[in-house]
Amino acid sequence: MSNIQAGTGAVAAVPDLSPVPAIELDGVVKEYLARGETVQAVKGVSLGVAAGEFFSLLGPSGCGKTTTMRMIAGFEDPTRGVVRLHGRDVTDVPPNKRDVNMVFQSYALFPHMSVWENVAFGLRRKKVQDAEIRRRVGAMLEIVDLTGREKRRPREMSGGQQQRVALARALVNEPRALLLDEPLGALDLKLRQAMQLELKRIQREVGITFVYVTHDQGEALTMSDRIAVMNDGLVEQLAAPREIYERPATAFVAGFIGTSNLLSGTVERVVDGTAVLPLAGYGRILAADAACEAGATITVTVRPEKITISTEEPTGDVSAVRGTVSEVVYLGTSNSYAVGLPDGAEVTVYQQNAHDSSTTAERGDSVWLSWQPHHSYAIGS
């Protein structure tokens, strides 16, 4: 609890990276033997999680995020590499001797014990005094809003309540870090959104490092200080949510986080750091800070909400591309357009329904798409 950083003021700020990370993975590899073949679930992950940080491991199922978390908890032994908690090498330390606690996807509550006994389980193992147990369990149940339900059995409670018991059971031990394995996966949408805010509040309140495993990009963007996007056993990008969204490092990240348009072209010239990519007969792409030279073929991503759709040719130093509307979908707060380009690519555009409900273009219309040069973000392949 001594590691509270950033405090309650700056909500979205990334906590200062203290010299010793709360969790450190150093070249961690996990191999399994499946039917005589070696399968690499995690192919070399190195990262540091700062004390007090809300850190997410985000990726599709099978990307190695859960295996990575289980290696931090101690349920899996890394084939190679080192796991450190606050600078101490814990690679060979069993889970019951690691100062981290986990919230399981299935909650994994003890069905034969009351809520109180579930939450007190960890403290009893540490031989904490009875009076101290009463105080801490009581305080923790208050934090998760379960006061008065101490005597209930887990199966008598709703999914959201069970979720909070699991959270309390882990947090009451005041671990160095709390590991959460898709903890909201089993809840319905409304409850999930409520619990996201709840988790964030609790994390601020207790000041404990959270490592959050999820495949839900919205969840990761909402809650995290930083996100490690994983794919196929590797970290593709490790950055703050805004950076991940605005400046995806790879095509995978661009595609996995939100909707993204990928466009490629050959750089004709670079003017004041802005690359100009003419498209044969149907416009041009301007990409600011593209860090490339004339003649290079690059891929840029553009978020659908950055693109303006109009029937007239745009003017000024903007990317301008012509295409034909192939689909218009009314989404309530916005309209989604699918625009086909002459080279066969399809661009998705979101337009806010700020003024009236009529759409700018109909299916089959020829339209111009435009966006600012700094909204084209060049990515590695």
């Binding site: 908890a73 069993p94 606690n101 399981f104 299935s106 994994a108 031990n173």
Partner: protein, 262 residues
């Protein structure tokens, strides 16, 4: 209308089944109170309580009952421990020889008692083991261990492995995790297996006949008494065993219900 007819049919069928199951037991109980004069206790002569005071007429009967109960208790204890360990291993782990273990277990369940009894007798004789009380216990453990293993395994397979991981994560050693978490969760399976083992042991005749040597159990005594006529005391002992069985079943279902709702 049709639905009500269906309900009525179902109701009637249920009671028919109950009658079918309970009638033989009722006859056994009732004939413990039969004021029979002859050696055979097969026709109703009138109500009496006198047999309840004359249980000591056949000291060998009481010895046999004592043998049966003590054998059943010892065999159940051993069977439950071994069967639980076996069920845990089969339900939880993948290991070399697992398929073979499953096969042998089901062979033990499905093989005819006559075959098992005869083969056990030849085994004991050729190994130079004197048949008697101990060999009965060994045989009873042998044929009931698979039943316990199967019931426990079913329970183990249904467990969420992350519950045990959660206990480890919260600082419990493997030992504490087993006794505080795993064991309470598989306990219903263990109890069911133990009851099954006890029930199998206490009324086993065929295998016991082969392996008993000079020891006489309750079923063996009844079999011996058939030729001279079964005295009403046998009905009384049977009634008592049945009553204990009903009591255990009721206690078990009540506590199971309490566990489920509490």
């Amino acid at each position: 209308m049709r639905r009500r007819l269906g309900d009525r049919l179902l109701f009637g069928y249920v009671w028919l089944v109950m009658l079918w199951l309970f009638l033989p037991i009722a006859v056994m109980i009732v004939f413990g109170f039969n004021d029979t004069q002859s050696k055979s206790n097969v026709s109703w002569q009138g109500f009496t309580l006198k047999w309840w005071g004359r249980l000591g007429d056949y000291p060998e009967l009481l010895d046999a009952v004592y043998n049966s109960i003590s054998i059943a208790l010892i065999a159940t204890l051993i069977t439950t421990v071994l069967g639980t360990l076996l069920g845990l291993a089969l339900g939880r782990h993948r290991f070399r020889g697992q398929g073979a273990t499953n096969l042998v277990m089901f062979a033990a369940i499905s093989s005819p008692e006559l075959v098992m009894g005869a083969s056990l007798l030849s085994l004991f004789v050729s190994a130079g083991v004197q048949t008697g009380y101990r060999t009965i216990v060994i045989a009873h453990v042998l044929f009931s261990v698979s039943f316990v293993a199967v019931t426990v395994r079913a329970r183990v397979v249904g467990l969420d492995p992350s519950v045990e991981e959660a206990a480890r994560d919260l600082g419990a050693s493997s030992w504490v995790t087993f006794w505080r978490i795993t064991f309470p969760m598989i306990l219903p399976g263990v109890v069911a297996g133990a009851l099954l083992a006890f029930a199998l042991s206490i009324d086993d005749f065929v295998i016991t006949q082969f392996t008993s040597g000079a020891t006489v159990t309750f079923p063996l005594w009844i079999y011996g008494a058939v030729r001279i006529g079964i005295p009403p005391q046998v009905n009384i002992v049977g009634t008592c065993i049945f009553a204990v069985g009903v009591l255990i079943a009721v206690v078990n279902s009540v506590t199971a219900r309490r566990r489920a709702t509490a």
